[in-house]
C-alpha cells in the first residue's frame, strides 16, 4: 500500500489562490494546538504574534525594516530559481556587496567627500554582489561545476573575508582592538525615509525592485526566456537562447540585489562593519522566495509574513514567555504547510493498494 501523486490536468485559479490561505490557517491551528498543549492560551498567542504587530505603528515600521533585506534578496533569487539555477549563496553576495560598498565609506571617512558617496557606495554594493554571484555562474558555464556547491561554499569565503578585514586592515584604530570598523560618516549613511524612524531607503529600493521584476518577468522577452530555460531547457536552446548568457545574467542580477541589500543594511542599519552583519538573511530569503512562489507580489507578502514571525516571536518571548524554539518551529510548520498546500493543489493524492509495491 502506498500513496501516489498524480498531476492534476487542470487547476482552478481560485483554488491556487486559496491554497496559501488554507496553509496559514492550518499552520496556525497546529501551532495553536502546541501552545495549548504547553498550557498557554492560543488566542493570546495569536494576538501577540499577529494582531498586535499589525495594529501598532512601531511594529509595522519594524516589520518593514526586517522585511527589506529579505524582499530584496528574495526578488533577486526569483530570477535564478525561475530559470532553474540554484543560487544558495545569496548570503555571501550580500556580504561582498556590503564589503565593497563599505570600502568607499571607510576610504572617504573623515574627509569632506560630498553627496556622491552614498550613491557610489550603493552602486559598488551591487557591483560587489554581482561580481561575487558571477563566480559560481562562471564555474558552472565553463566547467560544469554544480552552482549549489560553489555558491554555498563561497558564503564562508565571504564571511571570513569580512572577518579578516574587520580584525585587520579595516579595524577601527580607536576601537581598542575590537573587530569593528569606524562608524560611517553621515555622508555614507543611508537616511531614514522619515525623521526618527528606523525604516531606511533600502525599503524603497525593495519596492522598486519588486515592481520592476513584476514587469520584467511578466511582460518581457527576458522573463519568458527565464521561464523557458527553467521549464524546458532544450526548447530554450532551440529558440536560440544561450544558456551561458542566461546563467550569467540571473546570477549577476541576483547577486547585485543581494549586494544592495547588504550595503543597505550596513549603511542604513548597523552603521559600521562588524564580523556579523546578517542574521542569515541570505538563507531566510530562499524560504521567502519559495513562500512567495517566485512571484514578485508573492515575495513581497512572504517577506512581510516571515518578518512578522520574527517580530511576533520576540513579542511572544517578552509578553508570554514562550520559548524561542516555538517561533522557529512555527516558521518550519508554516513553510511545510505552504509547500504541502501547493503540492495538493497541483497533484492528486491516490492511495494505491495493489500493483506498484513488492
Amino acid at each position: 500500500m502506498r500513496f501516489e501523486l498524480t498531476p492534476r490536468t487542470s487547476v482552478s485559479p481560485v483554488l491556487r489562490a486559496l491554497a496559501p490561505v488554507a496553509a496559514f490557517i492550518t499552520a496556525f491551528l497546529i501551532a495553536g494546538f502546541v501552545i495549548w498543549l504547553m498550557g498557554r492560551s492560543p488566542v493570546a498567542a495569536f494576538e501577540v504574534y499577529v494582531t498586535q504587530p499589525l495594529s501598532d505603528s512601531w511594529a509595522l515600521q519594524e516589520l518593514l525594516v526586517k522585511a527589506t533585506p529579505l524582499a530584496l534578496i528574495a526578488i533577486g533569487l526569483a530570477y535564478c530559481f525561475r530559470a532553474n539555477f540554484w543560487n544558495i549563496g545569496a548570503e555571501g553576495q550580500y556580504v561582498m556587496g556590503a564589503v565593497l560598498g563599505s570600502w568607499l565609506a571607510l576610504t572617504t571617512h573623515g574627509t569632506e567627500a560630498g553627496f556622491w558617496v552614498l550613491p557610489a557606495m550603493l552602486a559598488l554594493g551591487m557591483v560587489g554582489g554581482a561580481a561575487y554571484g558571477l563566480i559560481p555562474a562562471f564555474l558552472k558555464t565553463r566547467f560544469g561545476v554544480s552552482e549549489i556547491l560553489t555558491s554555498l561554499m563561497l558564503v564562508y569565503v565571504a564571511q571570513l573575508t569580512l572577518d579578516y578585514l574587520v580584525r585587520g586592515p579595516w579595524r577601527d584604530p580607536q576601537g581598542f582592538n575590537f573587530p569593528q570598523s569606524v562608524t560611517f560618516d553621515p555622508a555614507a549613511t543611508l537616511p531614514p525615509v522619515m525623521e526618527a524612524s528606523r525604516v531606511h531607503y533600502g525599503t524603497v529600493f525593495a519596492v522598486i525592485a519588486i515592481l520592476v521584476t513584476a514587469v520584467v518577468l511578466g511582460r518581457t522577452l527576458f522573463g519568458y526566456r527565464l521561464r523557458l530555460t527553467g521549464d524546458a531547457p532544450r526548447a530554450a536552446h532551440f529558440a536560440g537562447f544561450s544558456a551561458r548568457t542566461t546563467t550569467m545574467a540571473v546570477f549577476a542580477i541576483s547577486g547585485g540585489l543581494a549586494g544592495l541589500a547588504g550595503i543597505g543594511e550596513v549603511s542604513g542599519q548597523i552603521g559600521q562593519l562588524q564580523p556579523s552583519i546578517s542574521p542569515g538573511y541570505g538563507f531566510t530569503a530562499i524560504t521567502v522566495a519559495f513562500l512567495g512562489r517566485l512571484n514578485p507580489i508573492g515575495i513581497l507578502v512572504a517577506a512581510l509574513v516571515v518578518a512578522l514571525t520574527f517580530i511576533g516571536g520576540e513579542s511572544a518571548q517578552i509578553m508570554l514567555k514562550l520559548p524561542l524554539d516555538l517561533t522557529q518551529a512555527f516558521q518550519g510548520i508554516l513553510l511545510l504547510c505552504v509547500l504541502a498546500a501547493d503540492a495538493l493543489v497541483s497533484y492528486r493524492v491516490r492511495l494505491v493498494t495493489r500493483g506498484g509495491g513488492k
Binding site: W58, V65, R167, I270, Q274, Q317
Partner: protein
Amino acid sequence: MFSRSLIGIAVGAAALAVVSGGAVAQPKDKIKVGFIYVGPVGDHGWSYQHDVGRQAIEKALGDKVETTFVESVPEADSERAIEQLARTGHDLVFTTSFGFMEPTLKVAKRYPKVKFEHATGFKRAPNVSTYAAKFHEGRYIIGQIAGKMSKTGTIGYVGAFPIPEVVAGINAYFLGAQSVNPNIKLKVVWANSWYDPAKEADAAKALLDQGVDVIAQHTDSPAPLQAAEARGKLGFGQASDMERFAPKAQLTAIIDDWSKYYVDRAKAVLDGTWKSQDTWGGLDAGMVVMAPYKNMPDDVKKMAEETEAAIKSGKLNPFKCPIVKQDGTEVECKGNGALSDEQILGMNFYVMGIDDTLPQ
C-alpha cells in the same frame, strides 16, 4: 567580549555628572527587568549563567520584580529586540554580549528613562552602565593546574574570537602554566563562534590529536570538555560548573557569577539610586568563582587554592611585570607593578613562548 578605555571612562564621568546633577530618580514599588541573551539559555555556559543571575533577581526581590528574557538574539539584528523590551515597560535592561554595544546605546538614547546595563562593552551613557568580570584571574589558576597536570608537556586552548578579552585569557593561562613548568607548550585553535558545540568539539579534537592532554576553552558550551572526557584527557569548565558533563575530566571551572551584581542593580533601580557606572570585578568581588578542585593530586589542589587566595587578596597579579611579548620586546608597565587595566582590556599580543600566531 569587552574593553574599557579612556574615552569610555570620560563618557562615563560625563554621564555621572549628568545623572547626579539632573534627573531625580524616584523609588519604585515594582520593576520589570529584561535580558537579551546572545545564545540559548540552554548553552550551559555564558547565556546560561546570565539566566542564573536573572533567576537570582526573582528570588531576591520576589513580587517586587518581574523578569523577561529574549534568547539567541543575533548581534547584527538586536536593536529591535532591545527596543521591544524598552517599550514594553521594562525599567532595567541587561544586554549580555559585546556585540550589543551600539544597538544598546541607540535604543538608550530613545528611551532615556529606561536603565541599561551592557556586559563587556566600553561605551557608556547617562542611562547605560557597563560591567564585566576579570576572568583572566581564573585563567591564571587553571593555567597553573594545567602546567602541573600535563604529562605530554603540551596544553591546548579553544578560543572563540581573537578579541582582547580572549587573548588576555590565553596569556594568563599560559603565564600560569609557565610559572610551574617553564618548558610547557601551548597550542591554540579558533572556533570563530561563541556557541557552536560541533565546531568547539572539532577544535578540541584537533588539539587532542596534536598531543594536547589538558584543554581550556573560551567558548560557551561544554563540548571541548566533553571531547577531553571522551578521550580520557583533562579539561576545565567555562562560565558555569560543567562537572555533570565531564565528571572525570573537569579539574575545575571558572564560573561567571552575575547574581550579586544583578540583584544589586535591580535593587538600585527600585530604590532610585541607580547610576551609570563601570564595574570590573574579579575573584575578590565574587564575580569570578572557582568550582571545586577535583581529579587532581592534593599538592596541585593546594597550589591552586593558594594561588586563588593570593589573587583574591591582591598579593598576586597574573599580569605582573615584566611581561614580554612573543617577539621578545618588553611591554611598558603602565600599572602599579603590573599591566594597567587598559592594557589588559586592549590586549592584542601573545606573551613570549606561545606556539601560535595571533590572527590580526
